[in-house]
Protein backbone atom coordinates (compact mmCIF):
# COMPACT_ATOMS: atom_id res chain seq x y z
CA UNK A 1 0.00 0.00 0.00
CA UNK A 2 1.31 3.42 -0.93
CA UNK A 3 1.46 6.12 1.76
CA UNK A 4 -1.05 8.13 -0.31
CA UNK A 5 -3.53 5.28 -0.27
CA UNK A 6 -3.08 4.88 3.52
CA UNK A 7 -3.69 8.59 3.94
CA UNK A 8 -6.78 8.38 1.77
CA UNK A 9 -8.21 5.43 3.73
CA UNK A 10 -7.44 7.18 7.00
CA UNK A 11 -9.25 10.28 5.76
CA UNK A 12 -12.27 8.25 4.70
CA UNK A 13 -12.35 6.42 8.03
CA UNK A 14 -12.09 9.73 9.89
CA UNK A 15 -14.92 11.14 7.81
CA UNK A 16 -17.12 8.09 8.48
CA UNK A 17 -16.33 8.23 12.19
CA UNK A 18 -17.21 11.93 12.27
CA UNK A 19 -20.51 11.31 10.47
CA UNK A 20 -21.38 8.46 12.83
CA UNK A 21 -20.50 10.66 15.78
CA UNK A 22 -22.67 13.54 14.49
CA UNK A 23 -25.53 11.11 13.88
CA UNK A 24 -25.30 9.72 17.38
CA UNK A 25 -25.25 13.22 18.80
CA UNK A 26 -28.33 14.34 16.91
CA UNK A 27 -30.31 11.11 17.08
CA UNK A 28 -31.48 11.38 20.72
CA UNK A 29 -32.76 14.87 19.96
CA UNK A 30 -34.62 13.96 16.78
CA UNK A 31 -36.36 11.05 18.54
CA UNK A 32 -37.01 12.98 21.75
CA UNK A 33 -40.68 13.80 21.00
CA UNK A 34 -41.29 10.06 20.70
CA UNK A 35 -41.68 9.53 24.43
CA UNK A 36 -44.50 7.10 23.71
CA UNK A 37 -42.29 4.40 22.25
CA UNK A 38 -43.44 1.60 24.50
CA UNK A 39 -41.01 -1.25 25.00
CA UNK A 40 -40.47 -4.15 27.37
CA UNK A 41 -41.35 -4.21 31.07
CA UNK A 42 -41.57 -6.75 33.86
CA UNK A 43 -44.38 -6.50 36.41
CA UNK A 44 -45.96 -8.76 39.02
CA UNK A 45 -49.06 -10.91 38.65
CA UNK A 46 -50.65 -13.30 41.13
CA UNK A 47 -48.95 -16.08 39.12
CA UNK A 48 -45.49 -14.49 39.21
CA UNK A 49 -43.53 -11.98 37.12
CA UNK A 50 -44.84 -11.15 33.65
CA UNK A 51 -42.83 -9.40 30.92
CA UNK A 52 -44.05 -7.98 27.65
CA UNK A 53 -41.45 -10.12 25.84
CA UNK A 54 -43.24 -13.24 27.13
CA UNK A 55 -45.85 -12.49 24.47
CA UNK A 56 -43.56 -12.19 21.43
CA UNK A 57 -45.54 -13.54 18.48
CA UNK A 58 -48.80 -12.37 20.06
CA UNK A 59 -50.64 -9.09 19.74
CA UNK A 60 -50.95 -7.33 23.10
CA UNK A 61 -53.60 -4.84 24.22
CA UNK A 62 -52.53 -2.94 27.32
CA UNK A 63 -54.62 -0.74 29.63
CA UNK A 64 -53.37 1.30 32.59
CA UNK A 65 -55.82 2.21 35.39
CA UNK A 66 -56.96 1.12 38.87
CA UNK A 67 -59.83 -0.99 40.16
CA UNK A 68 -61.42 1.76 42.32
CA UNK A 69 -62.04 3.62 39.07
CA UNK A 70 -65.83 3.51 38.72
CA UNK A 71 -66.37 3.62 35.01
CA UNK A 72 -63.67 4.22 32.41
CA UNK A 73 -61.48 1.32 33.59
CA UNK A 74 -64.31 -1.24 33.65
CA UNK A 75 -65.56 0.22 30.38
CA UNK A 76 -62.17 -0.14 28.68
CA UNK A 77 -61.72 -3.67 29.99
CA UNK A 78 -65.27 -4.56 28.93
CA UNK A 79 -64.53 -3.29 25.40
CA UNK A 80 -61.37 -5.40 25.39
CA UNK A 81 -63.22 -8.45 26.76
CA UNK A 82 -65.94 -8.06 24.16
CA UNK A 83 -63.43 -7.74 21.30
CA UNK A 84 -61.58 -10.86 22.50
CA UNK A 85 -64.84 -12.82 22.65
CA UNK A 86 -65.60 -11.84 19.05
CA UNK A 87 -62.23 -13.04 17.74
CA UNK A 88 -62.13 -16.44 15.99
CA UNK A 89 -60.63 -18.99 18.38
CA UNK A 90 -57.34 -19.40 16.49
CA UNK A 91 -56.82 -15.61 16.56
CA UNK A 92 -57.84 -15.25 20.21
CA UNK A 93 -54.95 -17.54 21.18
CA UNK A 94 -52.59 -15.02 19.56
CA UNK A 95 -53.84 -12.02 21.57
CA UNK A 96 -53.05 -11.11 25.18
CA UNK A 97 -54.86 -8.44 27.17
CA UNK A 98 -52.98 -6.82 30.08
CA UNK A 99 -54.36 -4.56 32.81
CA UNK A 100 -51.76 -2.57 34.77
CA UNK A 101 -52.91 -1.04 38.06
CA UNK A 102 -51.22 2.19 39.12
CA UNK A 103 -52.76 1.77 42.61
CA UNK A 104 -50.65 -1.04 44.13
CA UNK A 105 -51.57 0.17 47.63
CA UNK A 106 -55.19 -0.97 47.22
CA UNK A 107 -54.97 -3.42 44.32
CA UNK A 108 -53.46 -6.67 45.59
CA UNK A 109 -52.24 -9.20 43.04
CA UNK A 110 -55.07 -11.59 43.93
CA UNK A 111 -57.67 -8.86 43.53
CA UNK A 112 -56.16 -7.81 40.20
CA UNK A 113 -56.26 -11.40 38.96
CA UNK A 114 -59.96 -11.74 39.83
CA UNK A 115 -60.78 -8.28 38.54
CA UNK A 116 -59.10 -8.89 35.16
CA UNK A 117 -60.68 -12.33 34.75
CA UNK A 118 -64.10 -10.85 35.36
CA UNK A 119 -63.85 -9.07 32.00
CA UNK A 120 -62.26 -11.97 30.09
CA UNK A 121 -60.78 -15.23 31.38
CA UNK A 122 -57.51 -14.59 29.53
CA UNK A 123 -56.86 -11.05 30.84
CA UNK A 124 -53.89 -10.68 33.19
CA UNK A 125 -53.83 -8.11 36.02
CA UNK A 126 -50.43 -6.60 36.82
CA UNK A 127 -48.84 -4.08 39.14
CA UNK A 128 -45.46 -3.27 40.71
CA UNK A 129 -43.71 -0.84 43.03
CA UNK A 130 -44.02 2.85 42.25
CA UNK A 131 -40.60 3.20 40.58
CA UNK A 132 -41.33 0.35 38.16
CA UNK A 133 -44.83 1.67 37.42
CA UNK A 134 -43.48 5.17 36.82
CA UNK A 135 -41.04 3.74 34.27
CA UNK A 136 -43.75 1.82 32.35
CA UNK A 137 -46.12 4.78 32.43
CA UNK A 138 -43.37 7.01 31.02
CA UNK A 139 -42.46 4.45 28.34
CA UNK A 140 -46.03 4.39 27.07
CA UNK A 141 -46.64 8.13 27.31
CA UNK A 142 -49.34 7.53 29.92
CA UNK A 143 -49.98 9.55 33.07
CA UNK A 144 -51.17 9.00 36.64
CA UNK A 145 -51.11 10.83 39.93
CA UNK A 146 -52.53 10.20 43.38
CA UNK A 147 -55.01 12.83 44.54
CA UNK A 148 -56.26 13.02 48.13
CA UNK A 149 -60.07 13.11 48.53
CA UNK A 150 -60.37 14.79 51.92
CA UNK A 151 -64.07 14.21 52.67
CA UNK A 152 -64.52 10.98 50.78
CA UNK A 153 -64.50 7.44 52.16
CA UNK A 154 -62.30 6.64 49.16
CA UNK A 155 -59.48 8.68 50.77
CA UNK A 156 -57.76 9.15 47.45
CA UNK A 157 -58.36 8.88 43.74
CA UNK A 158 -55.82 8.11 41.06
CA UNK A 159 -56.11 10.48 38.14
CA UNK A 160 -54.99 8.64 35.05
CA UNK A 161 -54.87 8.71 31.29
CA UNK A 162 -57.16 6.16 29.70
CA UNK A 163 -55.91 4.45 26.53
CA UNK A 164 -55.97 0.95 25.10
CA UNK A 165 -52.39 0.49 23.82
CA UNK A 166 -51.93 -1.68 20.74
CA UNK A 167 -48.69 -3.68 20.62
CA UNK A 168 -47.76 -5.85 17.63
CA UNK A 169 -46.37 -9.42 17.78
CA UNK A 170 -42.83 -7.96 17.64
CA UNK A 171 -43.50 -6.11 20.90
CA UNK A 172 -43.71 -2.68 19.26
CA UNK A 173 -46.26 -0.08 20.31
CA UNK A 174 -48.14 0.86 17.14
CA UNK A 175 -51.04 2.97 18.43
CA UNK A 176 -53.76 3.38 21.00
CA UNK A 177 -57.53 3.74 21.26
CA UNK A 178 -59.74 5.66 23.70
CA UNK A 179 -62.29 4.12 26.07
CA UNK A 180 -65.06 5.48 23.86
CA UNK A 181 -64.03 3.18 21.00
CA UNK A 182 -66.38 0.36 20.05
CA UNK A 183 -65.42 -3.29 20.58
CA UNK A 184 -65.73 -3.66 16.77
CA UNK A 185 -63.08 -1.00 16.15
CA UNK A 186 -60.74 -2.60 18.67
CA UNK A 187 -61.41 -5.98 17.04
CA UNK A 188 -60.39 -4.60 13.64
CA UNK A 189 -57.23 -3.05 15.06
CA UNK A 190 -56.30 -6.33 16.76
CA UNK A 191 -56.78 -8.18 13.46
CA UNK A 192 -54.53 -5.63 11.74
CA UNK A 193 -51.86 -6.34 14.36
CA UNK A 194 -52.14 -10.08 13.71
CA UNK A 195 -52.04 -9.75 9.91
CA UNK A 196 -49.09 -7.37 9.84
Amino acid sequence: MTPIRILLITCILALVATLVFIRQQTEPNSSAPLSTQGGDFTLNSAEGPVSLRDFRGQAVVLYIGYTYCPDVCPLSLAILGQALKQLPEEDAARVQGLFISVDPERDSLEHLRDYARFFHPSLIGLTADKATLDQVVQQYGAFYRRVEMRDSAMEYAVDHSSRLYLINPKGELVGSLSHSSSPDLLLRRIQELLND
Binding site: A78, D114, D159, S161
Partner: protein, 153 residues
Protein backbone atom coordinates in the same frame (compact mmCIF):
# COMPACT_ATOMS: atom_id res chain seq x y z
CA UNK B 1 -89.46 -4.39 55.27
CA UNK B 2 -92.26 -6.09 53.49
CA UNK B 3 -93.63 -2.77 52.27
CA UNK B 4 -90.33 -1.62 50.83
CA UNK B 5 -89.92 -4.92 49.09
CA UNK B 6 -93.33 -4.47 47.58
CA UNK B 7 -92.32 -1.01 46.44
CA UNK B 8 -89.17 -2.46 44.95
CA UNK B 9 -91.30 -4.94 43.08
CA UNK B 10 -93.60 -2.22 41.83
CA UNK B 11 -90.78 -0.06 40.55
CA UNK B 12 -89.44 -3.07 38.71
CA UNK B 13 -92.55 -2.91 36.58
CA UNK B 14 -92.29 0.78 35.83
CA UNK B 15 -89.16 2.20 34.26
CA UNK B 16 -89.57 5.35 36.31
CA UNK B 17 -90.39 5.57 39.97
CA UNK B 18 -92.28 8.38 41.59
CA UNK B 19 -92.92 8.29 45.31
CA UNK B 20 -94.03 10.71 48.00
CA UNK B 21 -95.01 13.31 45.44
CA UNK B 22 -91.45 14.17 44.57
CA UNK B 23 -91.29 16.17 41.36
CA UNK B 24 -88.26 14.10 40.41
CA UNK B 25 -88.57 11.14 38.08
CA UNK B 26 -85.89 8.56 37.56
CA UNK B 27 -85.24 6.61 34.39
CA UNK B 28 -82.86 3.87 33.33
CA UNK B 29 -81.23 3.51 36.73
CA UNK B 30 -78.74 0.69 37.17
CA UNK B 31 -75.79 -0.35 39.28
CA UNK B 32 -72.70 -1.69 37.57
CA UNK B 33 -71.96 -5.38 38.24
CA UNK B 34 -68.51 -5.93 39.76
CA UNK B 35 -66.22 -8.88 40.49
CA UNK B 36 -66.84 -10.50 43.91
CA UNK B 37 -63.68 -9.00 45.48
CA UNK B 38 -64.43 -5.46 44.32
CA UNK B 39 -65.02 -2.99 47.18
CA UNK B 40 -67.03 -0.41 45.28
CA UNK B 41 -69.14 0.35 42.26
CA UNK B 42 -71.25 3.13 40.77
CA UNK B 43 -74.92 3.73 39.99
CA UNK B 44 -76.07 5.57 36.90
CA UNK B 45 -79.47 7.01 35.94
CA UNK B 46 -81.36 9.90 34.41
CA UNK B 47 -82.97 12.34 36.86
CA UNK B 48 -85.88 14.37 35.50
CA UNK B 49 -87.18 17.46 37.25
CA UNK B 50 -90.87 18.07 36.47
CA UNK B 51 -91.07 21.17 38.68
CA UNK B 52 -90.42 24.83 37.88
CA UNK B 53 -87.54 25.09 40.33
CA UNK B 54 -84.04 23.71 40.21
CA UNK B 55 -83.71 20.76 42.56
CA UNK B 56 -80.51 19.02 43.57
CA UNK B 57 -79.72 15.48 44.51
CA UNK B 58 -77.93 16.04 47.82
CA UNK B 59 -77.41 12.57 49.29
CA UNK B 60 -77.81 8.89 48.56
CA UNK B 61 -77.74 5.68 50.56
CA UNK B 62 -77.45 2.26 49.00
CA UNK B 63 -78.57 -0.91 50.73
CA UNK B 64 -75.38 -2.72 49.70
CA UNK B 65 -72.64 -0.23 50.63
CA UNK B 66 -71.26 1.22 53.86
CA UNK B 67 -70.93 4.66 52.29
CA UNK B 68 -72.65 6.25 49.31
CA UNK B 69 -71.31 9.46 47.78
CA UNK B 70 -72.01 11.77 44.87
CA UNK B 71 -69.12 11.92 42.42
CA UNK B 72 -68.21 13.27 39.06
CA UNK B 73 -65.54 12.29 36.59
CA UNK B 74 -63.81 15.02 34.64
CA UNK B 75 -61.69 14.42 31.59
CA UNK B 76 -58.94 17.03 31.42
CA UNK B 77 -56.56 16.65 28.48
CA UNK B 78 -57.13 12.92 28.36
CA UNK B 79 -56.70 12.45 32.12
CA UNK B 80 -59.68 11.06 34.03
CA UNK B 81 -60.19 12.77 37.38
CA UNK B 82 -62.78 11.47 39.83
CA UNK B 83 -63.97 14.00 42.40
CA UNK B 84 -66.56 14.06 45.18
CA UNK B 85 -69.29 16.70 44.81
CA UNK B 86 -71.90 18.12 47.21
CA UNK B 87 -74.86 17.97 44.89
CA UNK B 88 -76.10 17.16 41.43
CA UNK B 89 -78.32 19.95 40.12
CA UNK B 90 -81.38 18.96 38.11
CA UNK B 91 -82.57 22.11 36.31
CA UNK B 92 -86.25 23.12 36.41
CA UNK B 93 -88.14 21.17 33.74
CA UNK B 94 -84.81 19.63 32.83
CA UNK B 95 -82.72 16.61 33.56
CA UNK B 96 -79.36 15.38 34.80
CA UNK B 97 -77.62 12.41 33.24
CA UNK B 98 -75.54 10.16 35.46
CA UNK B 99 -73.52 8.05 33.08
CA UNK B 100 -70.11 6.34 32.80
CA UNK B 101 -67.33 8.89 32.41
CA UNK B 102 -69.26 11.60 34.25
CA UNK B 103 -71.67 12.05 37.15
CA UNK B 104 -72.34 8.97 39.28
CA UNK B 105 -73.51 7.77 42.64
CA UNK B 106 -70.48 6.04 44.16
CA UNK B 107 -71.09 2.98 46.33
CA UNK B 108 -68.10 2.46 48.63
CA UNK B 109 -67.54 -0.52 50.91
CA UNK B 110 -69.83 -3.11 49.31
CA UNK B 111 -71.15 -5.64 51.79
CA UNK B 112 -72.04 -8.17 49.11
CA UNK B 113 -71.14 -9.09 45.54
CA UNK B 114 -73.36 -7.52 42.87
CA UNK B 115 -74.19 -10.04 40.21
CA UNK B 116 -75.76 -9.09 36.92
CA UNK B 117 -79.53 -9.55 36.92
CA UNK B 118 -80.01 -8.90 40.66
CA UNK B 119 -82.03 -6.00 42.04
CA UNK B 120 -80.83 -3.67 44.74
CA UNK B 121 -82.23 -0.53 46.33
CA UNK B 122 -81.03 3.03 46.60
CA UNK B 123 -82.44 5.97 48.55
CA UNK B 124 -82.03 9.42 47.10
CA UNK B 125 -82.50 12.68 49.01
CA UNK B 126 -83.22 15.92 47.24
CA UNK B 127 -82.83 19.61 48.14
CA UNK B 128 -86.63 20.02 48.38
CA UNK B 129 -86.52 17.46 51.24
CA UNK B 130 -88.18 14.80 49.16
CA UNK B 131 -86.85 11.24 49.28
CA UNK B 132 -87.11 8.59 46.64
CA UNK B 133 -86.31 4.93 47.10
CA UNK B 134 -85.68 3.11 43.88
CA UNK B 135 -85.11 -0.51 43.01
CA UNK B 136 -82.51 -0.81 40.31
CA UNK B 137 -81.05 -3.71 38.37
CA UNK B 138 -77.40 -4.76 38.47
CA UNK B 139 -76.03 -4.63 34.93
CA UNK B 140 -72.72 -5.41 33.28
CA UNK B 141 -70.78 -2.44 31.90
CA UNK B 142 -71.62 -3.17 28.29
CA UNK B 143 -75.33 -3.81 28.77
CA UNK B 144 -75.53 -0.72 30.99
CA UNK B 145 -74.04 1.33 28.18
CA UNK B 146 -76.73 0.17 25.77
CA UNK B 147 -80.04 0.43 27.60
CA UNK B 148 -82.93 -0.85 25.55
CA UNK B 149 -85.45 1.79 24.56
CA UNK B 150 -82.85 4.55 24.80
CA UNK B 151 -84.26 7.13 22.42
CA UNK B 152 -82.60 10.39 21.50
CA UNK B 153 -85.07 13.13 20.67
Amino acid sequence: MRFSRMLAGLSLLASSTLLAQSPIEIEEAYVRAVPPTQANTAAFMRLINTSDQDISLVAAQAEVSAVTELHTHLEVEGVMQMRQIDQIIIPAQGQAELRPGGLHVMLIGLNKALTEGEMTSLQLRFSDDSNIEIALPVKSVMSGMMPHGHHKH
